[in-house]
Structure formats: C-alpha cells, structure tokens
C-alpha cells in the first residue's frame, strides 16, 4: 500500500510539472472562459463543453495514455526490478496520469464557470452531469490506452489503434447505430438501441447530459420504453454503473496483460 501511495505521489508530481498538462489545462481555461465571455446563454456553453467531453477528452486521454506508457518503458523496468508488485505499479501509473488529467479538466473548465456561476442557476444538475461525464471519460480512455499500450509493443501500432478507437467511439459507432436503425426501422428497436448506446462510453456521457437537457422535453415522444429508461432514476443509475464498468474492465485486462508481460 505504501508503495502504491509513493508511486501515485511521485507520478502525480511528475505529471503536474509537465508542459503538456499545463497546455491541456490552459486549453480548457481559454475555451471555457472564451465561451462564457462570448455568450450569456448557459445552454450554448454546456453544449460546447459537451462536445469537448465527447471529442477532446477521449482523444487526449487515449494518446497521452499510450505515449505515457511507451515513453516510460525503461523507467517501468527500473521500478519493476525493485521489490514491488506489478499490479501496484500499473495502478500507480494509471492514477498518476489520470488523476492530474481529471483535475486539469475540472480546474480548467470549472474555474471560469465559477466566475460566471450566476448564468448557471438553473443548470445545476446538467453541469454536474457534464463534469461527471468528463471525469469518467478521462478515467475510461486512459484505462483503454493503457490496455492498448500493454498489448502492443509496437509504438506506431499502438498509437494508430488509439486513434482508430477514438474515431470509432466518437463517430463511426453512432453512424453504425443510425444506419442499423434506419435499415431495420420496421422492427421495434428501442431496447436494442438503448443497449447499443450503453456499450459506448462516449454515448453514455452524452446521455448523462441530454437526459437532463433535452430528453425531459422530448420525453414521451419516443415511446414508453425510452420513457421508462430515460425518464427515471433507473436510467441514470444504469448509465453510471455502465460508465464505471467501462473504467474497470479495460484496466482489469490491462493489469492482467501487464502482470504477464515480458519487459
């Protein structure tokens, strides 16, 4: 446990001092502050931030995560030659990267919003869900990137896979759902479409926001199944659980691969 704490502590130190994290934080600050000073419309701000949740966070998490493991390979070897459990190191590295990234996101977007908090009086839960979504996205995609990097020795292959997965989860996946729904529109596809959505973490964190944002008004229009799922606390709970599963599962497989791997 002590070893885990130390690894996390120094990795967090290291990450916090790195230039790219500063740039990452500044990106959020500039964007969030820019949006807020540009418009008083909190809805607009929330939707733009939602796009960042869906595009920027997965991309940076995937790329930073894979590069981080590849670049630290020799350091990992050094640490693994110490009396330490591999799992401890893996979890330590994971938290050492993801926690600063999460904090950077929260700080970068949160601070400007705090300044303009007056504009968000009625958007409390949407905002909360937005942040929950962003935090999960970071944890999930760093976790996925660690799995990619431990499974692929070849850097270029790993990075390529990371970018492909990003493209897949942000765009291709929804495209496939849309095509499926269009082709099979004669069939009752409500339940399958909910299941498909849950399987993609980006769609899930989007749902978290639109559940509070749009669906309340659109509810009912979509039929009883959606109504039941989206309109109730049940949908919320399922979404959160599913996001949590998305964090844990790639991490678990990453951990297994990392434990068996030759360095």
């Amino acid at each position: 446990m002590n070893a885990l704490k130390s690894i996390i502590k120094y990795q967090v130190h290291d990450t916090f001092r790195s230039k790219w994290l500063v740039v990452y934080t500044l990106f959020f600050v500039v964007l969030s502050y820019g949006l807020l000073s540009f418009t008083n419309d909190s809805n607009k701000v929330i939707l733009s931030l939602l796009n960042i949740n869906m595009i920027v966070i997965p991309l940076t998490s995937l790329i930073f995560g894979t590069i981080y493991l590849y670049n630290n390979r020799d350091y990992i070897i050094l640490i693994l030659s110490q009396p330490i459990n591999r799992k401890t190191l893996f979890v330590g590295l994971y938290l050492g990267l993801s926690v600063p990234m999460v904090l950077s996101f929260l700080l970068g977007t949160g601070l400007p919003i705090l300044i303009y908090i007056r504009n968000f009086k009625e958007a409390g839960t949407v905002l909360l869900n937005l942040f929950v979504g962003g935090v999960f996205e970071t944890f999930i995609f760093v976790s996925v990137s660690f799995l990619i990097a431990t499974m692929n020795e070849n850097k270029m292959k790993g990075l390529g896979l990371a970018i492909f997965l990003w493209l897949f989860f942000t765009a291709l996946y929804d495209g496939l759902i849309l095509i499926t729904l269009q082709v099979l529109r004669e069939y009752p596809l409500e339940i399958p479409s909910i299941i498909f959505t849950i399987l993609n973490p980006i769609d899930l964190s989007r749902l978290l926001v639109i559940l509070r944002f749009d669906i309340s008004a659109l509810m009912g229009y979509t039929g009883a199944v959606f109504n039941q799922f989206l309109g109730s606390g049940f949908g919320m709970i399922v979404s959160i659980i599913s996001l949590a599963v998305w964090c844990v599962v790639p991490l678990f497989f990453g951990l297994k691969t990392f434990s068996r791997k030759d360095f």
Partner: protein, 417 residues
C-alpha cells in the same frame, strides 16, 4: 360631493330595481340548518325575481336544482352543495343570475348527460364568481348563453381517466363571455369552447388537465391573454378558427408523446404574440394553418420549438426568440411557403461583420437530424452526438433533404428584448 353623488346613484339603482321587479320588494331568503328554510330547493321554490338567497355554511346534499328566477345565490362561509356523485347540481334557466361563494362538489359522471356543477342554459347576464368546485364531472357549463362572466373560480378534479372526467369550463354556442382569473386543475379539458364568438379568456391558470389546458374549435374573434397553461397532458389545442388573438400567455411543461404547447389546426389569420413557450415537447405545432402572424414570442428549452406541417402556408414568424430548443423548426416537406425573419436563434453560428445586429449568413433552423427523428423515433437517442452534428453540418452546406427556402435570412445576433 362624492357622497351625494353615490347616494343619488343608489337611489336610481333602487328605483330601477323597483321598476324591474314590478314593484314587489325584493327579499332575502336565508337557508341553513338553524334557519326556518333548511333546503335550497325550498328556497328556490319560494323566491321571486330580484331575491337574494343566502346559503349559510354547511353541507347540502341536493341535486337537480333549477333556477328559474332572476336571483342571486350567495354562499356565506362557503357552504357545500353536493351532487353525491350521481346528478347535476345547479341549472340556471333565468337571466341575470349571480352565483358566488359556494362550494360545488361531486356532480356525478355520466356517459349520456353532461352533468355539470353549474349549468347556464340559454341565458344572458349571469355571473359565476368566487366559487369553488371539486370533483365534478363538468365544472361550469354554458350552453347558448350571452354576456356572462365566469370569474375567480377554483375548479379542481382528480379523475385519472378521460372518460370519467368532463371539462372545467365548457362553452357551447356562446357570445360575449368573460372567463377571467379561474384556476382549473385536473379536468379533461381545462377550458373548452365550441362555436363561441367575441369572448375574452384572461388570467386563467389551467393545469394538470387530462387532455388540453385550453381547447377551442369554431370560435372566431376571441381573445386569449395572460393565461398560464402548465403540465397539461396535451397542452392547448386551437382548431378551425379565424381571427384569433393569443397573446401574453405562458405555455409551460406540457410534456408527452402527443403533447404541444400550442396546437394550431386549420387556423387562419390569427395573431400569436408575446407568448412564452417553455419546456414543452413541442412549442407550436401547425397543421393546415395559414396567414398567421407569430411574433415576439419566446421559445425556450422545448423539444421542438415549431413543427410546421407542410400544408401550412404564408405564416410569418418574426422577432421571436429561440433559446436552447433541442430542435428549432422541423417540417415534413422539402418546400416551404412560410416566412422566417429577424428572429433570434441561439443555435445560430454566423457572424455580424458590419455590426448592424443582423447576422450576415442565413440561419437554417431545420436540421437534417430532426427530419430523421420525425420518421424514425428511436434515432433520437443519437441527439447531439458527434456523428449527427457532422450530418447536420454536411446538410447545411449541401441541402438535399431539408427545405432550402426555410431559412431566416436576417437572424438577430442577440436576444430580442
């Protein structure tokens, strides 16, 4: 001076009363447990034109009461008259009857008769004011009546099924009616009008009704203002009517699969202005409606701000604010014969280089995705996804499926105050 004037006026009034009641002195009949006259039926049998019947506090299980004289029914300490869930309660067949301060309860539901707590049947000059109504089939029912006032009543029902529920205020073949300051909660339709002319519906609060908050058909030249329609399962429906004025109303939280803030069907030459449509499944739904002017309204956080069905033409949407709606405008046709101009659209992404407050590029309020959703509802789950945004952008650049002419060429850059 003032005192003298009012005395003179009173004398004139009294004189007038004398004249109108054929010189018989009007009397006051008091009904109550501790009075000589115990039932309202008894009092109604005794009264003459001009009399006042005072009903003291208490419970009166009396139904099928009929008023045939020009009298005032006045409740003291809110007496309750109950129809015992079987019959109608009070029917007015005389002109100039006033009913106030009475609690009407439990007029019975019926599949054959329109049982109402208070029914005005072919009369003029009546006033139903400051009463309370609970769990009646119909609340107040006006048939073929003129020049009446329905004011400040509280009309509440709690039926769950439409078949066991009548309308709160129901008007049929009426003229010059004022419906003002009433609260209607939990009926089938809050306020229902059919074949009504030149009436004013103002400051009412209509909520949680099983069907429409306000429902009117074939009722030309009426005015609806400052009403609030909230949480009605189907919102407000306006059908087959010309020259309607709807302004300064609030349509809020009307949700559901078949729910509208305002449904316009076969409405022509109406004017809809200064209304607020907030958090409705659909702000305004237009079908077969022509030459309406829709301006200075606020559409905020609705699922659809406007659903413009294709057989609607020559409607003008101007100077409205569209803020945070999931879909701004949708339609089921690729052609458009309506005008959108000078509206503020929070989804507008253009710019204003010459700083005249008007965006230089036109705004396309119809998104490709909204057309998809129209035809295939489960796709709604993909709302605001990256892929859908890509589709919308592509469609905006090369319109294929969305009507090219349905654009606001002069979008306002900021919220119109």
């Amino acid at each position: 001076m003032c005192l003298i004037m009012s005395r003179i006026r009173n004398s004139v009034l009294i004189l007038f009363l004398f004249l109108s009641t054929d010189f018989i002195f009007p009397k006051t009949i008091t009904v109550g447990k501790n009075e000589k006259i115990k039932s309202i039926k008894q009092a109604l049998a005794l009264c003459e034109d001009g009399d006042v019947i005072r009903i003291t506090g208490g419970f009166y299980p009396e139904s099928n009461l009929v008023v045939t004289k020009q009298i005032s029914l006045l409740g003291i300490d809110l007496p309750t008259i109950s129809g015992s869930r079987k019959e109608r309660i009070l029917t007015v067949r005389a002109n100039n009857v006033a009913v106030s301060g009475i609690h009407f309860a439990d007029a019975g539901a019926s599949f054959v008769k329109d049982n109402a707590a208070v029914k005005l049947d072919s009369v003029t000059g009546c006033a139903i004011e400051n009463n309370e109504f609970s769990n009646n089939f119909f609340g107040i029912y006006l048939g073929k009546s003129w020049n009446c006032k329905i004011r400040n009543n509280k009309i509440i029902a709690s039926q769950k099924a439409q078949t066991y529920s009548g309308n709160g205020i129901h008007l049929w073949y009426c003229k010059n009616i004022i419906i003002e300051g009433n609260t209607i909660d939990g009926h089938r339709d809050g306020i229902y009008l059919e074949f009504v002319r030149r009436s004013l519906i103002k400051n009412n609060f209509s909520t949680r009704n099983l069907r429409y908050g306000l429902h009117f058909m074939f009722s030309d030249s009426c005015e609806y203002s400052h009403n609030t329609f909230q949480h009605n399962s189907a919102g407000v429906a306006v059908m087959f009517t010309h020259h309607v004025q709807m302004h300064s109303n609030l349509f809020i939280n009307n949700w559901g699969g078949a729910s509208f803030g305002l449904l316009l069907k076969e409405i022509t030459d109406g004017k809809i202005y200064n209304n607020k449509f907030v958090r409705n499944t659909c702000g305004i739904y237009l079908e077969g409606s022509n030459r309406n002017i829709v301006e200075h309204n606020l559409f905020e956080n609705n699922g659809w701000a406007i659903r413009l069905m294709a057989n609607s033409m020559d409607n003008n949407f101007m100077k409205n604010n569209f803020v945070g709606n999931s879909f701004e405008v949708t339609t089921n046709n690729t052609r458009n014969y309506n005008t959108f101009a000078n509206n503020y659209w929070s989804d507008y992404q253009g710019y204003d280089l010459n700083k005249d407050g008007i965006g230089e590029t036109p705004h396309h309020p119809v998104k490709l995705f909204s057309l998809l959703v129209e035809k295939n509802r489960p796709t709604l789950l993909l709302l605001r996804s990256f892929f859908v945004e890509l589709l919308n952008t592509a469609e905006k650049v090369f319109p294929v499926l969305t009507p090219e002419t349905l654009v606001d060429k002069y979008p306002e850059m900021s919220f119109i105050k």
